[in-house]
């Protein structure tokens, strides 16, 4: 770790001001950033912890019935408090280990957009809205490739708003070492159709499997996937599995998610 200034603002406006400084970096739960700093792979001048900002923590329901989760809410808190959206609560309950869940935040995970993280699949499959200190961003516009999002420098995720689906489920097939998703599939069925988001598989990060969405929108059953095949193009190939294996798993996990969603 290199030396850095550390700030822990109490309000969003103080945090925004602090992040305006040169080489300032926001710190959520630190489950990715702290290991990166320890390996000296990043050298921010100032680390601005968002952990002291109460106004971006917590879970509520808005007047459109959406589940609104503050950006600073930990995975453990979501696992416990997102009962209105059980598939989301279950996803949060299975991220990492208890230490990760007690520190890591939804805002941090979504902003980081790790291609193997769980949360981006829920955000995308739910057609959620990412709310920041300056604007609202639709999930389809938010994720822009591996570790890349629509966020501007210094922009803070204050809330993620999830429309609650009729049915949903997340299936994660873990990479044996890291236990991140080798392939994770989030399926959400809404009145106007089914959305399927895939994480872990693509070097471009989370994406929607539109063929499956179409088939499942017509018939929400694992059988509807018969005859479909996820493309291996652009999928990750590494020591844990080939692109073809990941493509195969996308279909298997999608089918399992549909079946589990009921």
């Amino acid at each position: 770790m290199y030396a850095f200034e550390f700030k822990r603002p109490k309000t969003l406006s103080e945090a925004v001001a602090a992040l305006g400084g040169e080489d300032a970096q926001a710190l959520g739960g630190g489950q990715t950033l702290i290991p990166t700093l320890k390996q000296r792979l990043a050298a921010p001048a100032t680390l601005v912890s968002l952990n002291g900002i109460d106004e971006i923590k917590g879970i509520c329901t808005d007047d459109q019935g959406r589940l609104c989760i503050g950006g600073g809410t930990t995975h453990a808190a979501v696992a416990k408090g997102a009962g209105a959206y059980p598939a989301l609560a279950a996803l949060a309950a299975n991220i990492g280990d208890p230490a990760v869940r007690s520190r890591g935040t939804i805002g941090g995970s979504v902003a980081n957009n790790d291609p193997s993280a769980c949360y981006p699949s829920a955000v995308l499959a739910s057609g959620a809205t990412v709310v920041t200190n300056t604007r609202q961003i639709a999930a389809d516009d938010f994720f822009q490739g591996m570790f890349t999002t629509a966020l501007e420098p210094g922009e803070i995720i204050t809330e993620v708003r999830f429309p609650i689906p009729q049915k949903a489920n997340y299936q994660k097939f873990v990479q044996p070492a890291s236990r991140f998703a080798l392939v994770g599939v989030f399926v959400a069925k809404y009145a106007d159709g089914v959305r399927v988001a895939v994480t872990g598989a693509s070097s471009n990060g989370v994406f929607r499997w539109t063929e499956a969405e179409k088939a499942l929108s017509a018939n929400f059953s694992a059988k509807a996937l018969d005859g479909l095949k996820a493309s291996a193009d652009g999928l990750i190939s590494d020591i844990h599995g080939s692109a073809e294996y990941r493509a195969h798993l996308i279909k298997v996990m999608t089918g399992r998610a549909v079946t589990a969603a009921g």
Binding site: R40, F173, P176, A177, D238, I239, H240, S242, Y245
Partner: protein, 787 residues
């Protein structure tokens, strides 16, 4: 017999401090005025150092001194402790292994320079400011390519990447070939024994200290064998006589072999402490452990088994490429040879065996002993090829094994060693009962109903441990003896301190060793304590590895305790005014046979130290004895293991449903510790079979260089084990009748897991005969979908 003597499952007394955070590990040692070293390591696998400029780095805050290869030009290299002689009678090629690189780097992690500063962060900052230019050379990673003509050389000065080409038993080669030529059936299997990273929970640490007033050096280090480090580093690297060099290994948090070896970091901190007249400390980062701790396994093998029509084993022939990495680690040459070739008979009567091993240098981390060391490699290939042969001959794999079991002992194998005792049918019988082998079909049907493929894998293992008879290993090229030592010091009030040359890195010596002494004398085990890990106050010992602590160290302990008892009887005879021959020791009391006269242990001990009424004319006062024990043979633990798995045909994921282990460890001193050792070994074996694998790319970068990519077994990857050690054929040649138990689980379990997965796939209609470890979901799926 005290209730906490031999055979008692007493809780481990050392756990009180380990579980309450009161252990004292090397990193807990911080000396006054201590400086810190950060090693600059090569990021390329092979290259020439064309420029090494320390001038800017030397001006960085806190920097005390920067050392480079030039500082070690006149210093010895790290030695190899074992010389193997090849098929043609020539000694192995033995390259120099400098403390810091001399103009060339040979693996990612090779140390180029060492920055010593006031703090670790300052040392690291300065290390980043060091200017190192390296002209990259083609890396040699694949072993078979490395020995082809025209391959780049890891060491130009030795002229070849082939360290040795070993044949065993070379004289049998023609007879073995002839047996294959006329065999009814030959089963052939090519396989890889995957490279492993040892991953001790405690990373390596070394602290060097120097007292200029006495010219005394002290090295605190994470070691399984401090005396060996003192000998190797003092005599071969730094030229420090033993009376001026103390090596201390305090609590050690696991080693699995990786802390046997003498590493350059130990030599560096000892050297630098004198140069700087300040203590110098190094603590490995976890990512540094991945690229500097000696790796394990990494064999590529072709094994052939010749059988008669009725399944009688006729001959075995193997060809193995064994990776040495970039340099010879301390015991590396012995692992694929004497710890591997000698075990190729397994539990079976195979009259003719020929083992060929080509040890190869590559641009990778040095490879050396890792839990089992050679024996897992032997067991894996043998037990896999037997399973394959059974399938080819349509024979039951257990029946085929039983048919060929060694049943009469002692048994002279065709690969040098003599098994003193064993009963392989007994452990197989026990296993069948424990694992309910008869009920497998029912369980398979239940799995099938869930859409899962269930398989059963059974195998045997034998290992040679309790290393080792010195006269024998000397003939085989060992540059050290392999005895063990103990000093038993009885205090005036009868309690006992034992100084032992063994050194626990997690095995529970502080509990088990007192059980032995207490049992022999008949006093409570709590009255006995162990001192170990410090060359200043323990007799010369060879340390802990090769499942040798109880079999060899424990035997030394018995010898020393018997000397104590013998002397104590003389004292008792004097006190009781009886003849020494009439004195009996029972439950801590000396009595005169056939009378009611007796004197207790404490009174005898007190008399030895307050010799007012004492036979001073014939007996020295005091009660302290030392013994060395050199075994006359290895011990041969053996057993039978069964694993049941379910394979998810949609994903290739393997789940272990059950694992049963029936082991014969001879007599047992502490069954709870033995059970724990087996559990640990099974966990590591299952880890090797399903999860672990060190993978290099073609440029020599370690792709699995962190826990993000190197899969360690977690609690939910392993089942609740069924273990049993009630089948006991006591070792015939050591006084406790014990065999080693530390490595058995890691040796015996990988073939059980792989056999089970292949069985599941075969029963599921997939014609898959082999998958290389680790059997990750993607590999299993790929095999299912190619066949």
């Amino acid at each position: 017999m005290p209730k906490d003597g031999i055979g008692a499952a007493t809780k481990r007394r050392e756990d009180v401090r380990f579980l309450t955070g009161n252990g004292r590990y090397t990193d807990d040692i911080n000396l006054r005025g201590q400086a810190y070293v950060w090693f600059v390591r090569s990021q390329v696998a092979h290259g020439k150092i064309t420029k090494l400029d320390t001038s800017d780095a030397a001006k960085m805050p806190g920097v005390i001194r920067i050392f480079t290869g030039d500082d070690f030009a006149q210093v010895g290299g790290v030695p190899c402790g074992w010389q193997v002689t090849d098929r043609h009678g020539k000694p192995m090629l033995e390259p120099k292994h400098p403390v810091l690189a001399q103009g060339k780097v040979r693996y990612v992690g090779d140390a180029i320079a060492a920055v010593v500063a006031e703090t670790e962060a300052q040392a690291r900052d300065a290390a980043e400011a060091l200017v190192v230019d390296i002209e990259e050379l083609p890396a040699v990673i694949d072993m078979k390519a490395a020995v082809k003509a025209g391959s780049p050389l890891v060491h130009e000065d030795i002229g070849s990447n082939l360290c040795y080409d070993w044949g065993f038993v070379e004289e049998n080669k023609a007879a073995v070939d002839a047996a294959f030529a006329k065999a009814d059936h030959v089963t052939t299997l090519e396989l890889v024994n995957n490279r492993l990273v040892p991953n001790a929970m405690e990373p390596r640490v070394a602290v060097g200290d120097y007292d200029f007033s006495t010219d005394h050096h002290t090295l605190y280090t994470t070691s399984q064998n401090p005396h060996v480090i003192r000998l190797l580093m003092g005599a071969f690297v730094l030229g420090i006589p033993e009376h001026k060099l103390r090596v201390v290994a305090p609590d050690v948090g696991g080693g699995f072999g990786s802390k046997i070896f003498h590493y350059i970091e130990e030599a560096f901190v000892t050297f630098a402490a004198k140069q700087l007249r300040r203590p110098v400390k190094w603590t490995a980062q976890r990512s540094e452990s991945f690229i500097t701790d000696a790796h394990g396994r990494d064999h590529v093998t072709k094994i052939e088994l010749a059988l008669s029509k009725d399944g009688t084993f006729q001959a075995i022939r193997t060809e193995t490429y064994a990776n040495m990495g970039a340099y010879l680690s301390t015991f590396a040459p012995s692992v694929p040879t004497w710890l591997h070739g000698t075990l190729m008979a397994g539990n079976y009567r195979t009259p003719l065996i020929y083992v060929n091993v080509k040890a190869v240098f590559t641009n990778t981390v040095p490879v050396d002993a890792y839990r089992g060391a050679g024996r897992p490699e032997a067991t894996y290939q043998l037990e896999r090829v037997i399973d394959k042969a059974a399938r080819e001959l349509k024979m039951d794999p257990i029946a085929l094994r039983r048919k060929n079991f060694v049943t009469e002992f002692p048994y002279q194998t065709p690969v040098a060693v003599v098994y003193d005792t064993g009963n392989y049918n007994a452990t197989m019988d026990k296993l069948s009962e424990m694992a309910d082998l008869a009920g497998f079909e029912k369980r398979r049907a239940a799995s099938a109903a869930k859409g899962r493929l269930r398989g059963l894998g059974v195998n045997c293992y034998i290992e040679a441990c309790g290393i080792a008879p010195s006269h024998l290993v000397g003939q085989l090229g060992a540059r050290a003896g392999l005895y063990e030592s103990a000093t038993v010091r009885v205090n005036a009030t009868g309690n006992i301190v034992v100084m032992t040359g063994s050194h626990s890195h997690g095995q529970g010596h502080e509990t088990a060793f007192p059980q032995v002494v207490a049992d022999l004398i008949g006093i409570p085990a709590e009255n006995v304590e162990i001192v170990h890990g410090d060359t200043a106050n323990t007799p010369m010992g060879m340390g802990t590895y090769g499942s040798r602590s109880l079999a060899v160290g424990g035997s030394a302990l018995v010898k020393a305790t018997n000397k104590i008892i013998s002397k104590a009887k003389k004292i008792a005879a004097h006190l009781l005014e009886a003849s020494e021959e009439d004195i009996e020791l029972k439950e801590g009391k000396f009595s005169v046979a056939g009378t009611d006269k007796s004197v207790d242990w404490g009174s005898v001990c007190l008399a030895a130290y307050v010799p007012h009424n004492y036979p001073l004319e014939s007996l020295e006062p005091g009660l302290e004895e030392t013994a060395f024990y050199d075994p006359s043979n290895f011990t041969y633990p053996a057993g039978a293991y069964a694993c049941e798995v379910e394979v998810d045909p949609d994903t290739g994921k393997v789940t272990i449903c059950s694992f049963a282990a029936a082991d014969d460890f001879g007599n047992i001193v502490n069954p709870m510790i033995v059970e724990g050792q087996v559990h640990g070994g099974l966990g590591q074996g299952i880890g090797q079979a399903l999860l672990e694998g060190a993978v290099y790319d073609e440029n020599g970068q370690l792709l699995s260089g962190s826990y993000m990519d190197y899969a360690m077994p977690r609690a939910d990857d392993v089942p609740f084990y069924k273990v049993d050690h009630s089948c006991q054929t006591p070792c015939t040649h050591n006084p406790l009748g014990v065999k080693g138990c530390g490595e058995a689980g890691a040796i015996g379990s990988p073939p059980a897991v792989v056999n089970a997965v292949i069985d599941a796939l075969q029963r599921g209609g997939h014609d898959v005969t082999h998958i290389d470890m680790p059997l990750s979901p993607s590999r299993v799926w790929a095999a299912m979908n190619q066949a």
